[in-house]
Symmetry: D2
Subunit: 384 residues, 4 copies
């Protein structure tokens, strides 16, 4: 059994909840779940035990009610039992058309982290999954500063995610172990302050920024070119979508944090910093969750011949991430059982756009996948 608490009951978390229940009912196959049901912990053992949000229209409603807004082909009744609890937002919803309320309206940061740790002690999650909206943030780097910021109630200094992880660390310390999965760009697995805290508190951190969409595909295509020593002249990657995350990214500050994790793959894979334009490009409401991506890659082949690739796609954003989370919560529990606290590169390298810890780089995903399987005790898929 893997008990899961969700932070941010939006599109991804809702598809995660629906897909999970449908798998349990045998309605759908394991498509989109990289490790299928190969792990000793089965998908059917995953259970959502709590969910947090800050949208006034969601707080207090049942998971069933909320999930219905994102998918309406028979939402499982089982989701009626979980009520959405009030979380924190701090700066994270500005510019979005959402009426927000958060624990910060009534409590200090210190009170909030204690309150959350207390709630979790009764819910008893093995894994806490962060699927909040992309935030503008500043990493801490230094654990003492982080602790001080919480003590001083520095609500302007921290983002919601940064507070949630702190609460998760308190909780993990008390119960002897837990995992936190950070699927958004806020640096957590890449922030030494948090990694140090996690090690001390029996917390496993997976992060940062779930590797979905065009970026992991770009990584594998660049690896393909690098292995043939084709010299990449330039890379362009546009993407536009209509879900809340794309709307959030029209905010410049947030966009920057995304741009960073997306761009880092170029140098990591190619070994040189090919000119690139890789960033979320816009918001187009009618596209919904199925974003449009367009890539252009130009490279030099043998005898100075110039080749060109153009890759376009329509990709469902939320299911891609939700499928990864099905693995991540199970791997999180396995890591806790192995007592590998801190952050775990072999897992991050496959599932995350910006795999922590900070000093580590991107691998071609095809390679990272096999290393991850190895960590999880599985036989290789290809490298037999």
């Amino acid at each position: 059994m893997v008990k899961v608490v969700i932070l941010g009951q939006g599109y991804v978390a809702s598809i995660f909840a629906i897909g999970l229940e449908r798998i349990k009912k045998g309605e759908i196959k394991y498509y989109g779940v990289p490790l299928k049901n190969e792990l000793p912990i089965k998908i059917e053992e995953v259970e959502i035990v709590g969910s947090y949000d800050v949208d006034k229209n969601k707080i207090g409603k049942s998971l069933f009610e909320v999930v219905k807004n994102y998918w309406n082909n028979g939402v499982p009744e089982t989701l009626k039992e979980i009520k959405i609890r009030k979380g924190i937002h701090l700066k994270s919803l500005k510019n979005l058309p959402i009426e927000a309320e958060g624990l910060e309206d009534n409590f200090s940061l210190k009170e909030i982290v204690e309150k959350l740790a207390e709630e979790w002690k009764s819910l008893r999650p093995d894994v806490i999954v962060n699927v909040c909206t992309t935030e503008a943030f500043v990493p801490f780097e230094n654990k003492e500063e982080l602790i001080k910021a919480i003590e001083n109630d520095a609500k302007d200094r921290l983002t919601a995610t940064q507070v949630y992880v702190y609460a998760a660390a308190l909780y993990a310390k008390e119960v002897g172990g837990a995992a936190f999965v950070n699927t958004i760009p806020t640096l957590i697995a890449n922030d030494p302050a948090y990694v140090e805290l996690a090690k001390e508190c029996n917390l496993v951190i997976f992060g940062d920024d779930g590797a979905t969409g065009a970026t992991p595909l770009t990584a594998d295509i660049l690896a393909h070119l690098a292995q043939r020593n084709r010299y990449v002249k330039d890379i362009v990657q546009f993407n536009i979508g209509g879900n809340t995350d794309f709307l959030a990214l029209t905010d410049k500050e947030r966009n920057k944090s995304k741009e960073f994790t997306k761009s880092s793959i170029v140098k990591d894979i190619l070994g040189y910093d090919a000119p690139h334009f890789i960033k979320p490009t816009g918001f187009m409401e009618p596209l919904g969750d199925k974003k449009f991506i367009s890539m252009h890659i130009e490279y030099i082949s043998f005898n100075e011949a110039i080749d060109e690739l153009i890759i376009s796609g329509r990709i469902n954003d939320s299911p891609a991430l939700a499928g990864l989370i099905i693995d991540l919560v199970r791997l999180g529990k396995i890591a806790v059982e192995k007592k590998e606290f801190g952050t775990i590169y072999p897992v991050n390298a496959f599932y995350m756009k910006n795999p922590g810890p900070k000093e580590m780089h991107n691998l071609p995903r095809v390679v990272a996948y096999e290393k991850m399987r190895q960590w999880a005790g599985l036989t290789p898929l290809f490298t037999k």
Copy 2:
């Protein structure tokens, strides 16, 4: 030093000759050569010592004269010393607008293979590279049948390539070792008859069908999907070009041999035979050597979401293969030095569309690349 004999002085062989000389003169970088100059045998040590063709307009001319037709920005004078010799064509040029003459006009197959072996004994190539036009062929499977066909002068049974490899085996046996690189779809490394012959005669065979163009890229993209357990609904891959090879492929029989090697990747990588339409689609003269490719891949993601990728490209056909040959001739010599006669899967798996021996399958190229480096005694590029 690696001495090379070329069979089929067309587009690929001409770009190979030009690029090689330009690298020697320091005019261009190693782009398009997968192993750059990492091998103990340096690119600058490769030397073309002979070239064969069956086009009346090429036989007897200098390499310089022939190469000029494919590239005209200053062909190196060094190519003036090599004269194009008369080879064999058998059925391989029918339907093409080429006036052909071949050794078969005057000699029996047995005489031809002996004559070629004799010529090579004076040229002393380490590696013989086959870059003939795609052929319609029937594999032998059984060595005795092959020998009998040569003895019986069964000119209708063998293709040019099948005769050339036989001659190469005779030659290798006498000089103690040589390599044959088969870059076209005719099954050689995948024909047990030839692999057995090679082992007995100190011949190294690399083959079959050089892994250029859309197919290896498709393989890596399919691997990307397989590792995320995305279920591929269908794959379409069109490609059209204007060089002689595309013209040759308008012939149905030849096209089939190409279709086979292209399609085999689907099941090899995905593990199931997703519906696919993968074949050379047409000839369009003005596109020249820079073919147009278009792919469409549709797959099922988590919670039954359906995603779509569309990949288009303009890719120079001949430089892609010529760059691989720069590696293959060096690896051929290394294999001979190691006395690894027969065929060598770790090399084939990266460089060939249909890697021999027959019982072996396609690997994702990203994985195959590292295995090949390992075989060549190099450190991994990514899997550190």
Copy 3:
């Protein structure tokens, strides 16, 4: 009121029937119907009074039953009253996985055309719409030969369409006027034999080959280039789909008739015969009715600059044509009322890939559209 008889109750005819009923019920807008509800004859006045097919599994069933196989989101009950009647197929279903039976099993051609004319005299259609599968055919050119072929029961000489039009002419002659809409490539509006016959018999013919899919779009893009005097170097147009029509086109003979009408636009629009590869490329079952198209156009701009366009798309085949038919049946009735017997170029030029009569050419569709509106007595959309 426009009474319609359908020949070939496949995908297109089924979407036509469903969409029509849904419009009548106010469920959907007029999208995909070029003239919306601007004509004096309203869409709501169109009524299907009969339908013919040769599939054993369809004959005798209700339209409701058949239509359900193509679309299953609430088929209107109104379709229950029409029974599918037995038609003719002659050579038109060979190679298709359909068990066919036709009137030709029991009757001579002469008997068939009389029998059909008789049936229609009781059904009283204003318009007969031919949406059969693409046929391999030979045009007649000469009316006497056509008549002789019917008399001689030359079942190998005629296709189903060629027989149906003959029957329609008999019928039109007797009732004083009717229209025949030919949406497939078989030359009817382009066959002088049929146009002459139509004039004599009070028949209006619209044809040939409904202008859907990539071809009219290509025509408009070529017009765009022609108007800027950009010189088209080459055009490639691939398309692949999974409906019965694509399956039928894997048959070489049928494919040729399609290729012809698709290719004729190049010279008609550009004024020169730019090298082109335009033909249905393959069958891929999982794509269903939503075909994948891919185009590549390369052209020379000012000062010899070379530009490139790549157009990809997913296009629903049947709704595109069904929407045109909503107009064509109304225009057919209008033409009969105007007594403009024979064929009508201003209508054909917009709605047909190969607009008859034979001596006429393709216009850019944007231009043809306005001419068609003019013919129909409507004000221009753009050329105010």
Copy 4:
């Protein structure tokens, strides 16, 4: 003979100069010139008599020297005779890596316009072509305010273009007629202040914003959809390039003026304001003048089927505009001869993204083209 003065000797103006001279020498065909040599004034009669710029590295150099930086395959010697004169820049070069100097460094606006008018009286241009960098600007709307701004030396209020047109009006008044071609987004033909001024001063204005690149193609594709009553759900149009204009557009203010003219086509053609994201998206130096464009259009067809088009392209930016200018200067002279002062919609509607005067809208280009021919006294190309 058409004498031309150029304002802004950048990429476009240089390709214009080279292409023009190459046509005169018979080196190239008329490709990219919409009206070819059909006009009574022949291309060979066009002559550049003066050129202005504000780049310190260009002023004082010969046209030959400057043009060489943009194209180096044999620049015609004839360009050696023209020296680049100092123009004005005002706010127009901020953020660009160009060391600028302008007449404004030493003169008041009033002095500048008089000085320019004087220079032109000796050069005697028939047509003045503005190909400056895209500017951030505020239109005047009111002629009196414009005059006052010049009088008051309001250098912060006017852009270079706004000053140049004023000077052109002075010049035209004195010589009895001249034309001004505005190929950039600054509203001139769409500013009633300038149109009124032009009418009074015998000036012909063509503008605004030369219709090159993806926008006119989008217009024709939207017209194609509108004529079939396909309902456009959303339109995305990305484009990125490496020339100075794309660099200039990374400046937010400039980008806005471009976005406006690009977006206006949607409502003008479709009749409703379909959700769209159409704007220059970024700068990527290695792409050079050959920009990458990517479009995505989703629309509803009959019976609520949803279709999708994806259009990608590599398009040479400067030659596209330079080819139009070859026509515009000749049409400018024709308009002066006809004494049609003010602005001329039939010319603007085809050649300009934002055709003036202000109250007029975009037409599908295919239609606009024929109207323009008609204005120029030519027979229709298609609408015979």
